[in-house]
Structures are given as C-alpha cells and as structure tokens.
C-alpha cells in the first residue's frame, strides 16, 4: 500500500514539501482550534472570559463551575438523560429490527425475499417528505413521545443491506451443521450468526447511535414539551439562539453565583461533544471499511 501511494513521489523539491506541510497544518488547525477554544472557554475563569470578549483560546486555570452548574439538576442534565435514553434505546431497537430483517433476507430462496428486499431498497431511494411524515407520527399519537424520535428513523435500509451482505458472507457449511444439529432459524441467528458478526454489529450500532445522538430536527418537529427535549435542542436554544439560562434552568442555583453564560454554553457544547469523541476512535477504525463495502465492492 505504501509503495503505491508513494508512486508519484520522486524526490520532491524542498519548496513543494514546505508548501504541503503548511497547507496540511492549516487544515488541521482549522479543525482543532475551534475545539480547543470551546473546551478552554468552558473551564476558564469569569474574569478571563470577560477580558477576552467571550471566547478563550487557552484557559488561565481549571474552573469546573460551569459543569457544576449544568449538572445541578436543571434543563441540561435532563436533556442529557433524554438523549442518552434515545441513543441507547434507539440503537437497541434499530439493531434488533435491522439484524433480524437482514438475516431473513440473507437466507437464499426464503419465502417472500424478493418483495421484502425491494421494499428495503426503495426506502433508500426516496424520502416521503416532511409533511406526510408529520401526519403519520401525529396519527399514531406519537407527538410529544420519545418514540417519535426513535421509530421513524429506526430502520435504515442502507444499514440493512450492509448487514445482509455481511451475513451472506458467512459460509453455508457453518449454518448447515447447526441446522443438522437441530437448531431452528432463530437459534442459528442468535447463537451463530450474531456472535460471528460482532465487528459489523459494532459499526452499524455506532452509526445508529451517532445518528440518534445528533438528530435534531425531528425533536424540533415532534416534541413541544421542553421536559422531553434532547440535548441538541437545548444546545440550539441556549447556544445558537443565545437564550439566557436563568438560575431556574440550572436547578435553582443562586443567580449571583453562576459562572459566565459563555462558559455554561461551552460546557453544554462539550457535554454534547464528548460521546462522539469517545466513540470516534472505534468509528474511525471501521468506517472506511463500512463505507467501501457499499461503494467500491461492486
């Protein structure tokens, strides 16, 4: 691989090497500096934040007041809980539905496979549109229910296809020997296929989880009860729209003890970033493979 990629290199001139380094350093800085600033502002002291006009690139000290304020039982803490419930519950529902659907589509010649596969494939090609989706959610009485944030996006046709092609790669001999031993279809799925598919389950599961965690618009559309707001909606209201967090929003802390709004805002941003940063190394290791299954394999 490395020899191939070095193919074009033939003793590069010094100037072009410098130029490349500069361009890449700038690209990385453009990504990294904002993160640095966000984290720094969330832990900087009030004075420092005020002096530097609201955004600190490097903190003078480590102050966790902003985090204490948002984890004092207020809006943010509740929203974090909602987001975790949706991400975890949603991912479980998505994985259960998708793997079972994919498995039943992976057995050659099973009854009804062709039409079911078509239903899955065409669901990738079009989206029904905002208004009709809203009407269906409303008709099922899911407005203001957390299920409205899970069920409509629970099955991604693309993920089902990825899982299916993985399942189809499991040698038939493995499954047949289990069948000869008397295992039924569900038993084979549960005790042979799933354990053999841990890697792809992890990737698909993480993609679902990140999707649920990042989803914002469905919550804006379907959830009007602020007690059920997920974190992204809180982030929009208090950070993007700059609504001031009152002491009531923060679990009743005394107003004069509150850390600066900028720090609180950045602390909310950090809290919503952390789960992504935690799963990112896993995602990064596997995603290229996952991406390419769909794209280059054919």
């Amino acid at each position: 691989m490395s020899t191939i990629q070095k193919g074009i290199e033939d003793g590069p001139a010094m100037s072009s090497r410098v130029l490349k380094t500069v361009v890449l350093v700038v690209c990385c800085a453009v990504v990294v500096i904002p993160f640095l600033g966000v984290i720094s502002t969330s832990i900087a002291s009030q004075q420092h934040v005020t002096n530097s006009g609201g955004f600190v690139l490097w903190p003078d000290a480590l102050h966790l007041d902003a985090y204490k304020a948002i984890f004092n039982g207020g809006v943010v803490q509740r929203a974090l809980l909602v987001s975790v419930v949706i991400a975890v519950g949603g991912t479980l529902i998505s994985l259960a539905g998708s793997t079972m659907l994919a498995y039943s589509l992976s057995r050659p010649g099973s009854f009804g496979q062709r039409p079911i596969l078509m239903i899955v494939l065409f669901s990738i090609l079009f989206s029904p549109g905002l208004i009709p989706n809203y009407l269906v959610v409303k008709q099922f009485g899911l407005l203001d229910s957390l299920f409205a944030l899970i069920l409509p996006t629970a099955i991604s046709g693309f993920n089902v296809i990825v899982l299916r092609s993985f399942f189809m790669g499991i040698p038939d001999s493995v499954l047949d020997s289990a069948r000869i031993d008397g295992a039924g279809d569900f038993r084979i799925f549960w005790s042979i296929v799933l354990p053999l598919s841990r890697a792809v389950l992890a990737v698909v599961g993480l993609f679902y989880a990140v999707g649920y965690w990042n989803a914002f618009f469905n919550a804006m559309l379907y959830i009007s009860d602020t007690a059920k707001w997920p974190l992204q909606l809180v982030l929009r209201t208090y950070v993007i729209n700059n609504t001031e967090l009152s002491s009531g929003d923060l679990g009743g802390a005394a107003a004069d003890q509150l850390p600066p709004q900028e720090s609180i805002q950045m602390a909310i941003l950090v809290v919503s970033l952390v789960p992504i940063l935690i799963v990112y190394p896993f995602l990064q290791r596997h995603f290229a493979k996952g991406m390419l299954t769909g794209a280059v394999k054919g």
């Binding site: 966000v38 010649g109 079009f126 905002l130 629970a154 693309f158 992504i276 995603f287 991406m291």
Partner: protein, 359 residues
Amino acid sequence: MARTDALNSLQTDRTTPSDRAGATGSGPPGTATDRRFGRRSGSRSGSRSGSRSGGKPLSWWARARRDKVLLLMALPGLVLLLVFHYLPLLGNLIAFQEYLPFVPFGRSAWVGLDNFAVIFNGDQEFLNALKNTLLITLVQVIFVFPAPIALALLLNSLLSERIKRVVQSVLYLPHFLSWVIVIAIFQQILGGSGLINNFLRSHGMGTIDFLGNPDSFIALLTSQVIWKDTGWGTILFLAALTQIDPGLYEAARVDGASRWRQLWHVTVPGIRGLIILLLILRLGDSLTVGFEQIILQQNLVGRPASEVLDTYVYNNGVLAGQWGVSAAVGLVKGLVAVVLVLGANKIAHIFGEAGVYQK
C-alpha cells in the same frame, strides 16, 4: 455520501447474476419463484431447497410455513419501514385537499390541483425558494465538490504513512458532529463576540458581521459544509488512488514526466471515473440542500436570502398552517428528486460499466 453508497449497493444488488436470477417472473407466483428457487439452490450449496425439500418444488403455502420463523424475524423491521417510509406516501393526498389539522383525517374537502397553483403560477416565495436551492447547489458543486479531491491528492502525495494517518484522524472528525454543534462552533469563531471579531476589536479595527449578512449567507453555508465534510469526502478518492497501477508512474518517470505531468496524465485519469460518478449523483440530489443547517441559521439572515424548498415546506406548512400547499410543493419536489436520482443512477450505471467500479 450515504446516498452514494446506497445507490452503489443497489446497483451491486441488481447486477449480481447468481443471486438475481429470474427477478421478474411473469407466470403464476408459485412457478416463477420456484424456478428461481431451483436455480439458486444450484449456485449456493446447502440452500433451503437442498437441505429440506430434496429439490422438489414446494407449494407457496408450504414454503411460507417452512420459513415462518424467518418471516416473523423480518416482521418488526418491515413494519417500521412500511409505517414510516411507505404509509406517509398516502399522506401526500392532503396535497389535493384543503387540509385543516383539527378536521379528522380524510374528512377535509378535496380541492383538486388548487394547492399546486403556487408552483405553476409562479408564486414569488416559491420561485425565490427554488432559485436559492438551485443557486446553493451550483455554488456547492463548484466549491464543495472539488475540495475532497484536492485534499485526497495532497494526502496521497505524503511520504510518511504515520503523518497521513494523524491528519486523516483529525480531518474526518467534523463529519460526525451534528449540525447544531457545527453551527455553534462557527458562531464561536465568526460571531459578534467570536474569535475573529475579538481579534479585530482588540486591534482597533471594525468588526465584520459574518453570520447575519444575507449577501454572504451562501458563502457561510458553503464554508460550513467544507469544514464538516471535506475530510470525510476524501475516503472514496483515497481508495480509488490506491487502485492506480504503480507501474504507470514508473513508466511516466522513465519517459521523463515531471511530477505535475504524472499527476495530470496518471493520477487524474485514474480517478476521473469516480469523479464523474460522484458528480452525477450530486446533481441527482440538486433539490436537497442542507435543511437542518439552514433552518438553524435562518432567523439570523431572514427568509428571503435563506429560503430553500425544504424550509419553504416547513415554514409554510408546519409553522404557517398551509398544509395542503406545502404538501403539494413537497410532493412535486419529492417526485422530481426521485426522477433526478433514478436518472443520475442510470447515467452513473452507464459510466460504472465503463470501468468505475468494475471488478
């Protein structure tokens, strides 16, 4: 990107001959499917017919009973897809009604094609949304599309594998952030009290209104998309670059080609097919431009500068209560989008057979 992969796997699915044999049987369901069934069992050992029925064709009902566990397993996922992807298609009927939310479903008055008048009579707001949508697509095809190609070429020319990996790790990250987070971060940098304006202020210069200026809104959107997705977009190009035969570079070098000429005559032709394919697929998505991204920033620049078709549907329908008109616009947009995507898919397929993904 996800759409691209999906389409490709769709093509893959359609073109795998052993598995797709006899896709459309015109005879009675039983015989058609059994014919396919038989052929399949030939191509895959130990498939259902082989191990269970000894090759004899089974009746429709017997096969359904035999596969009842599999069918039950498919059910939950299938129901979710049908309810939330296919049932809403019926909801499009309100495009032909004077829909009022408090009137029970199906009782609204039918108004024929009245709701479509905004489209065909050239309603000002609708035309503006259409114009913005197409303009944003145009600008993004010009500025966003080439960015990952350039970055992939740059990464590809790096000597150190380790540096390359570190740079990739950093640059892929923004793709996984939500639009809410990305826009919040942009505000911290470009906002009135953000990094750049603080710097300008502390050096005695005037501040610049990056976020609320309608004239530069498209530039703002474009820069955000570039920031978020350029790194991620390099993946496909990097994969294609590794497929180029190193012998070609060697031959070019022997012929005395400079590095620029190698780039132009070996590297670019090597990924040209992929570039064309992705460009076609992007054009198939012309009517869809960053809905979440725009709706989050719309109140800063106002609707005239930022309204696109998707936000038009949301603002006029859900917020302003013109459900029927919005559904009509959404329906037409959806239909045109499907035609564009299928057309793009078709063209991409032609190019694909010309050697993009052949294997």
